[in-house]
């Protein structure tokens, strides 16, 4: 068991080292993008909005921006980047010629995707604190929760990567799944505005809704029992998608 974790860790470490080698390009964009959203939507458009559910608009969207950043970093890491490593660089082939198994490679990739979520949440937090849109110290919880949320999106992403015929077809989940989720998960307006049926559909099918609800409870210091349901949904979905991803990858790569 310990050896298995070590081998997963070595795959993870490979990605971390490659990431750190090009840290400049890796650190700046995820840092800038949410900042722009916060300025344009939160403090720009937000001046016309008095308050959402009694909360100033920038404070309302701040936890959503963290959630989106975690989703994007984990999802894109385990789709496009993993696909490049698997298909073009043949990195997975090289690794499975060693005592590391394909299951451990995929687990390491997904944990790395989740780690990226943690890194970006950690980079954003000081900015949010600086703008006074995240309560302290409860907002520190954003960072460990980013790992759980990141693992969820990494698992979903890896399932797509396992079944995609080419890198171009990864655009489908990107535009048809991630983009709607970005807009309709209680991110920029409350879910309650949606008709009941749509709202229920969003809660059932859009993982980001649960992540946003938890993150918002964290930054507003308003964690309640209802968040346990969100957490349970995430735990079940993460388990399903991560194990499915490993199975699908085995089917794709063990020939």
């Amino acid at each position: 068991m310990i050896e298995c974790i070590q081998r997963v860790g070595r795959v993870w470490q490979r990605n971390l080292e490659a990431f750190l080698r090009t840290y400049r390009v890796n650190f700046i964009p995820p840092f800038i993008e949410p900042l722009l959203y916060l300025l344009a939507l939160g403090f720009g458009l937000g001046t016309y909005i008095e308050a959402v559910d009694g909360v100033p608009y920038p404070v309302f969207i701040a936890p959503a921006l963290v959630s989106i950043s975690v989703m994007n970093s984990a999802f894109y890491e385990c789709t496009y980047s993993s696909f490049v490593r698997m298909y073009y660089q043949k990195t997975f082939d090289a690794i499975i010629a060693t005592p590391v198994s394909i299951d451990e490679v995929i687990a390491g990739e997904m944990i790395w995707g989740a780690t990226r979520g943690v890194i970006y949440a950690g980079l954003m937090l000081p900015v949010l604190i600086l703008f006074g849109v995240a309560a302290m110290p409860s907002s520190l919880l954003l960072i460990p929760f980013a790992f759980i949320a990141g693992l969820l999106f990494a698992g979903i992403a890896m399932c797509f990567t396992a079944i995609t015929p080419s890198i171009e077809t990864l655009n489908y989940p990107s535009f048809l799944f991630i983009t709607p989720m970005f807009l309709f998960s209680g991110t920029f307006f409350p879910l309650e505005l949606l008709p009941d049926a749509v709202r229920c559909a969003a809660l059932a099918a859009l993982p980001l809704t649960h992540v946003v609800e938890i993150n918002r409870a964290i930054t507003l210091e308003a964690v309640s029992a209802a968040n346990l349901l969100n957490l349970a949904w995430i735990a079940v979905a993460t388990t399903i998608f991560c194990s499915l991803a490993i199975r699908l990858m085995r089917r794709r790569l063990v020939v």
Binding site: D93, A94, I96
Partner: protein, 257 residues
Amino acid sequence: MKMIQCISPKSGGSLEVFGMDVDTHPREIKSRIGVVPQENNLDPDFTAYRNLLVYARYFGIPKSVAEERAESLLGFMHLEEKRDVLIEKLSGGMKRRLIIARALVNEPELLILDEPTIGLDPQARHLIWETLRGLRAEGNTLVLTTHYLDEAERLCDRLVIMDHGRILIEGAPAEIVREYAGNEVIEVERTEKTATLLDKLGVAYDVAGDMLQVFTDRADDIVGELLDLCRHEAAVTVRPATLEDVFLRLTGRSLRE
């Protein structure tokens, strides 16, 4: 090959490496073999040196040991100068040498090479042959596949010729050549005259395009007859028989795709 490496599932029968079943002990087997794949799968995110270190880590080799081995393998493969160079900046031959170095990082008891010199220039091929012969001389076991029969002839103690997944023959290269092609090959232009003469002499020959090939141990006599008959009319050459002749005789001349 992939089944020996415990990467592909066994398609049938039984397969043991180092006396261990590939289905039940893949990890133990993989930790004791080195693999040189046909396709370059070096890690483009790292330098030559880091490629070796990162790969050693997958085997659980301690860092200090890995560093020492990486340095000495770069030396062994004449890559010291490229130590801190990214993979994309290496030539084809250097990449192959680095892949071989990488395959040696766990000090394997068995080295598996899939087409080790494919697409390389003659200098690079000779350098790789030299290293492989060096490894063999140190007592390492090498298993290699190749379409280059001159390569097989130079490197192999024991050789298996396969076609469509079946073993046709096996043995030492020199013995195989002697047995299946004789010592020498006479090649003569294919004309009515030459064919008739060979028929008359009772010599068996193969038709290879516009040439006739005679595999024989008594080349001098036949060449004498051929020259007497058609000097200035048809070119006659004699050369030692090679594995390529054996291969073509056994598997036919039609293109296999």
